[in-house]
């Protein structure tokens, strides 16, 4: 058993789309993690669930040593729920804060596979924000920097499918509900994981943030803000 008095936990918060959640991570293990569909209730539920998780672990807020938050793309108001909680905790506890791009965290669990990764986050009105990453292979173990094949764009499933024709091997991940058929119509070769592997894992977000904070690469508490990408007009 771990000595819990040593626990210096990183809290990761993700409120980027209809699914919101948290992870509590100690650098070796994800100690608690949850993701649920409830963005509209984010203010009422997210911090309350984090407090409950700490209680379940027999800990209090004083166990938190750092906080990380998904910076988007995603729903602007939704992102600010997570950002507000993260900022309040960082200010109140005097702990470092790190903002992690939502799509980096989405792609992270798939970096070991040999395909290009198309990470997607729902943007509403049948549109998704997406980015395409290069496979990292064994480098993923060292958390090598993300090699981006295509930076963030917005598109409909048909538009995303059209963009994927340029990649012979590509795996989809993230908010895939409602998008798979449209993408597959244009890009039948795209690899679609089973629905149980869709969505985002706050634990992956926590892992990315942990390494950054360990290297002293925390963000400025004052200036940190969501990534504001237009969801209409030219993608």
């Amino acid at each position: 058993m771990r000595d819990e008095t040593h626990a210096g936990l990183l809290l990761a918060l993700d409120t980027s789309s209809y699914s919101i959640g948290y992870a509590l991570y100690d650098g070796e293990q994800v100690r608690a993690e949850a993701m649920w569909q409830g963005q509209r209730q984010g203010t009422a539920t997210l911090l309350a669930e984090v407090v409950r998780a700490l209680e379940m672990l027999g800990l209090t807020q004083d166990a938190l040593a750092a906080v990380a938050v998904a910076t988007g793309p995603g729903s602007f108001s939704g992102l600010r729920v997570g950002m507000g909680i993260a900022k309040g905790l960082a200010l109140g506890l005097g702990i470092p804060i790190a903002g992690i791009p939502t799509l980096d965290a989405t792609a992270a669990p798939f970096r070991l596979c040999p395909h290009a990764i198309c990470a997607m986050v729902a943007a509403g009105r049948n549109r998704w924000a997406y980015a395409i990453y290069a496979p990292a292979g064994r480098d993923a173990e060292q958390n090598a920097p993300f090699a981006v094949l295509q930076p963030v764009k917005h598109g409909t499933p048909a538009e995303i499918g059209a963009a994927l024709k340029a990649y012979t091997d590509v795996v989809l991940c993230g908010d895939l509900a409602g998008a798979v058929d449209g993408i597959r119509a244009a890009a039948p070769h795209a690899v679609v994981p089973p629905p149980g592997l869709w969505g985002r894992r706050p634990g992956a977000l926590a892992d990315l943030a942990w390494r950054r904070i360990l290297h002293g690469d925390a963000d400025d508490l004052v200036g940190l803000e969501p990534v504001y990408l237009h969801t209409q007009g030219k993608g």
């Binding site: 209730q41 203010t43 911090l47 602007f76 729920v81 309040g88 506890l93």
Partner: protein, 359 residues
């Protein structure tokens, strides 16, 4: 002594304050966004929320610093939970909740409208004591978003006597100012222009409402439109792309001919609004045997309204200093103290309530 750190972010001001025992203002910091929204002629919600998320930490720090305090010297956290813009409210509420959680402090959720009324409990700068409002009190809340007449029979106990049937008083000022080619926000602009005006040259008739304690500003707005029509010069409205990809119409005040009687019209318009606000207050005081009158909200900074009310009622009239009439966190700390004294605390599940009512 109870020291409350209060946070307010319901609309376009990011504010934090430290209040002792509900009355003494130790620090009050307000980051205004007026410059940001003025060119749109009103608050753009998405822009307001963006500003809140970057202003909130420096504003809270500045409030603590101004009183040489750290979070260790705070007994409770208070925050505006509504009414207001959902996207703006959620910044303050989430930051306040996590601050309270981080420091294991009690949390109080405050109704913004109640906050405006409690600005009347704040002690003037430098004063060690001052008489406080007595009950029953008639309260008039007038701002850009609200026009309500309430009866307050005790701390936290309200009865709604009247409200606006169309625009809020502040909106009526904004629309009048736009028609006259004056700036935003409209209230102060109209007051300035009205200074050298003759309010009797254009008598605007006040609209009658079925309930004598209600308000309606649509009549005088139409009258103003008609009065300026002969002086209007042609212009085009330019649309611009907003932060959400949507388009906003940039605020372009009307262009009027040089011989337009702007000062007289401003004076008449202000006079009409003031009379419309004062009459129901005077009647409510008589009907409910009120022993004090509380003026609250941004429009409460209007000097003609204050003077006119003071002569119309014969019970003590309370008006906050202008800086506590517009949105601020000191008033939230004042209201929170009385809720706290009544044992009313919020939990970690506190939400935002954009259309929260006082009663």
């Amino acid at each position: 002594m109870v020291d409350i750190l209060a946070i307010e972010s319901s609309c376009d001001e990011t504010a934090a304050a430290i209040i002792t025992d509900g009355r003494r203002v130790r620090a009050s910091i307000i980051a205004s966004q007026n410059d940001l929204h003025a060119r749109y002629g009103g608050v753009v919600p998405e822009l307001a929320s963006r500003r809140h998320i970057t202003e909130i930490v420096p504003v809270v720090r500045a409030a603590l610093d101004a009183d040489n305090r750290t979070l260790d010297d705070v007994d409770a956290i208070a925050v505006t939970m509504g009414p207001g813009l959902a996207g703006s409210l959620l910044v303050g509420v989430n930051v306040a909740k996590s601050l309270a959680c981080a420091r294991a402090l009690p949390l109080i959720g405050v109704n913004h409208l109640e906050g405006h009324l409690y600005a009347n409990w704040l002690l003037p700068q430098g004063a060690s004591d001052a008489p406080e409002p007595q009950f029953p009190a008639v309260g008039l809340i007038v701002s850009g978003g609200h026009t309500s007449l309430v009866l307050m029979t005790g701390h936290g106990t309200y009865r709604l006597l009247g409200g606006t049937l169309d625009d809020a008083a502040g909106e009526a000022f904004d629309k009048g100012a736009r028609l006259l080619g004056l700036g935003y926000p409209g209230g102060p602009a109209i007051s300035r222009a009205a200074q050298d005006g003759d309010p009797t040259r254009y008598p605007f008739v006040r609209s009658r409402t079925e309930n004598a304690l209600d308000f309606s500003f649509s009549g005088i707005k139409t009258a103003m439109l008609r009065a300026v029509q002969p002086y209007r010069l042609p212009q085009t409205d330019a649309a611009t792309t907003g932060p959400d990809g949507g388009s906003f119409v940039l605020h372009r005040p009307a262009h009027l001919r040089d011989d337009a009687p702007v000062h007289d019209l401003a004076a008449a318009y202000e006079d009409a609004i003031v009379r419309m606000l004062v009459a129901p207050v005077a009647q409510a005081v008589r009907e409910h045997r009120a022993v004090s009158v509380l003026l609250a909200g941004g429009v409460a900074a209007n000097m003609r309204l204050r003077e006119s009310l003071a002569t119309a009622v014969d019970v003590p009239l309370f008006c906050p200093p202008p800086v506590y009439c517009t949105d601020n966190a000191a008033m939230i700390g004042a209201a929170a103290f009385y809720r706290m004294r009544a044992g009313e605390f919020a939990g970690v599940g506190l939400d935002v309530y954009p259309s929260l009512r006082l009663v």
